[in-house]
Amino acid sequence: MTHTHTERPARATGDGPSPGKDTPDEAPLGASRADHLSALAQQHGALVTLLLVAIGASIGFDTFLTGDNLENMAVSSAFLAIVALGMTFVIITGGIDLSVGSLFALGGVLGAWGSQYGTLVALLLPLAVCGLIGLVNGLLIAKARLAPFIVTLAAMLAARGILLAITDEGSNTYLVDEKSFFASLGQEKLLGVGVPVWITVALFVAGAVMLRRSRFGQYVYAVGGNEDAAALMGAPVARTKIAVYTLSGLCAGLAGALNAAWLVSGVTILGTGMELEAIAAVVIGGTLLTGGFGFISGSLVGVLLLKVIQNVINQIGSLDSAYQQVVSGAFLAVVVIAQTWLGRRRRMM
């Protein structure tokens, strides 16, 4: 569990220590052992659960620990993970982004369409359009002070509308040339592991460094911890919010484009419900929806946990996919109850 040391969660409040600073211990002086344990459980509960589920699955199914299965899970997790990365930033600021599912689909279609003009267009076009929609989200939320929930909801509808408009109401599917470099971004393997996985790992490292070590990361925590206090401290609240929504749009667009390269086509119906999956992954990973507290690696664990559960349910075979939803939903409820309960404990001490 090396990331325990590289990425320690921090709660930023107006009077607290700055989040990027290396405080010697998470728990304050005088905290009892139980409090410390509950704090640990809140941070790493998802990881422990993931390990338990994975161990159980590898004992239960011979097919679970095969290279093919793991590789397949890793690649299919990669796209959701990239979306969840952007979502983590948004949620730490105390916001939410419901538009990512539509932006994912839009990014995929734009990427597939753009691939006929080369890889650069295939990547830059989704990034530009989805980043722009994210920017508009951020402007409406930070400058016009509208509720993030509603703004991104509108963006979700609008992005899906744009997607339908450019695909003749969803009847056009753009294909990616399988021999192009763009397609290889989704399909090739490097050291036996799919390129999307490597890209995801690189993005997560960059995201973690940005969140933990940069000034921008400090602002993200500060805005989510206490917006007024952050403003008084001189943090650029509006600019930070605009940046996180833009970032979220960029992540969703990129994930969509990479997914199109993987599937070698831009599929219009993708991404419905993805915003909820991404939010679930982030929340399961220990980031609080109230903002001000969270960490990137948790979201990755959250994504993997969701995917492993899906995989296990698929392996059981006789269980149809409806159970998958029941289990995911129940699981989310349990995690949130545990989080709320542990969080209350911590606040009381």
């Binding site: 939410i96 002070r145 509108a154 339908l164 419905t272 029941v326 995911s328 939903g329």
Partner: protein, 320 residues
């Protein structure tokens, strides 16, 4: 002279803005009606009004429950899944007669609402997360119960779906009755006042000794039951149970109707008349765009713009 000079004062403009916020949605409906009467052929036919009204009924019923949830400073994302659950339950229990099936479907909605409310009131989970969990799980349960589309062949159900009294479809009558009932609950009952007080400030309501938990649980139970009723009515109209697609994105339509109708997301205030008008506005907007051969993509973009404009108009009051 002085009167003229006063015209442009900030107070006056604030009042104008307030008027626009309160009655803008009715003006919007009026404008759309006029535009359609002028431009859309065959708009002024009984058949058309009937179609539009029947289509808006389930959305409106869901939106009524959503208005209660939003008024308590919450939200209910599980309503679409509750509709799916109620259609599954209805199909499964129709053999015991339509009334039994209806009651079982409503109990299903109440149970999901109870789960939502308990998570929110007792554990302190945020409404958006609690109802998200039930949204995911609820559709799963619906699909476990009824894995695929099933025709509903029941004389009671088909007369509910297509019957009428003096030309007014049952669906519309039921929706109108429920709107009046919820309006009465909000305006005239202790529960309604407590609900608004909690939405205004939950800590203050707690200090004042209001039964916060009981009220919140009841809000989500009512929202669940209303969504279940909407699911039953939609099933009766379509003559089929389709748990895969029934109610998808319904939570968004309902939230839109409520917000466009002037109920602030910050809670403490509920406008049932506005919610009715909001649901009608969205339906008319969609119908107008489709009637003029604009593709569905435009409807979604238009809906997005309307949402943002409505919230922008309501923003000043939210900050107050």
């Amino acid at each position: 002279m002085t009167e003229l000079a006063l015209k442009g004062t900030p107070v006056d403009r604030a009042r104008l803005l307030r008027l626009l916020q309160d009655y803008g949605v009715y003006a919007g409906v009026a404008v759309l009606l006029l535009v359609n009467i002028a431009l859309t052929p065959h708009f002024l036919s009984t058949e058309n009004f009937r179609t539009q009204a029947v289509q808006v009924a389930p959305v409106l019923i869901v939106a009524l429950g959503m208005a209660l949830a939003i008024g308590s400073e919450g939200v209910d994302l599980s309503v679409g899944s509750v509709m799916a659950l109620s259609t599954s339950l209805l199909s499964l229990y129709l053999g015991y007669g339509p009334w039994v099936a209806l009651i079982v479907a409503m109990i299903g909605g109440a149970v999901i609402g109870l789960a939502n409310g308990s998570l929110i009131a007792f554990i302190g989970v945020q409404p958006i997360v609690a109802t998200l969990a039930l949204m995911v799980a609820g559709r799963g349960i619906a699909l476990v119960l009824l894995p695929q589309l099933k025709d509903v062949r029941d004389p009671g159900m088909s007369s509910l779906g297509s019957g009428d009294v003096f030309g007014i479809p049952y669906l519309v009558l039921i929706a109108a009755a429920l709107a009046l009932l919820v309006g009465f609950i909000v305006k005239r009952t202790t529960f309604g006042r407590q609900l608004l007080a909690i939405g205004d400030s939950r800590p203050a309501a707690q200090l004042a000794g209001l039964p916060v938990r009981r009220v919140l649980i009841l809000v989500y139970v009512i929202a669940g039951v209303l969504a279940a009723i909407a699911g039953v009515l939609a099933t009766a109209r379509l003559q089929a149970s389709d748990p895969t697609s029934l109610g998808t994105l319904m939570e968004l339509s309902a939230i839109t109707a409520v917000v466009v109708g002037g109920t602030p997301l910050s809670g403490g205030r509920i406008r049932i008349g506005g919610t009715v008008a909001g649901a009608v506005l969205i339906q008319l907007l969609t119908a107008t765009l489709i009637k003029h051969d604009l593709p569905p993509s435009w409807t979604q973009i238009a809906q997005a713009v309307v949402i943002v404009l409505a919230v922008y108009a309501a923003r000043e009051r939210g900050k107050r």
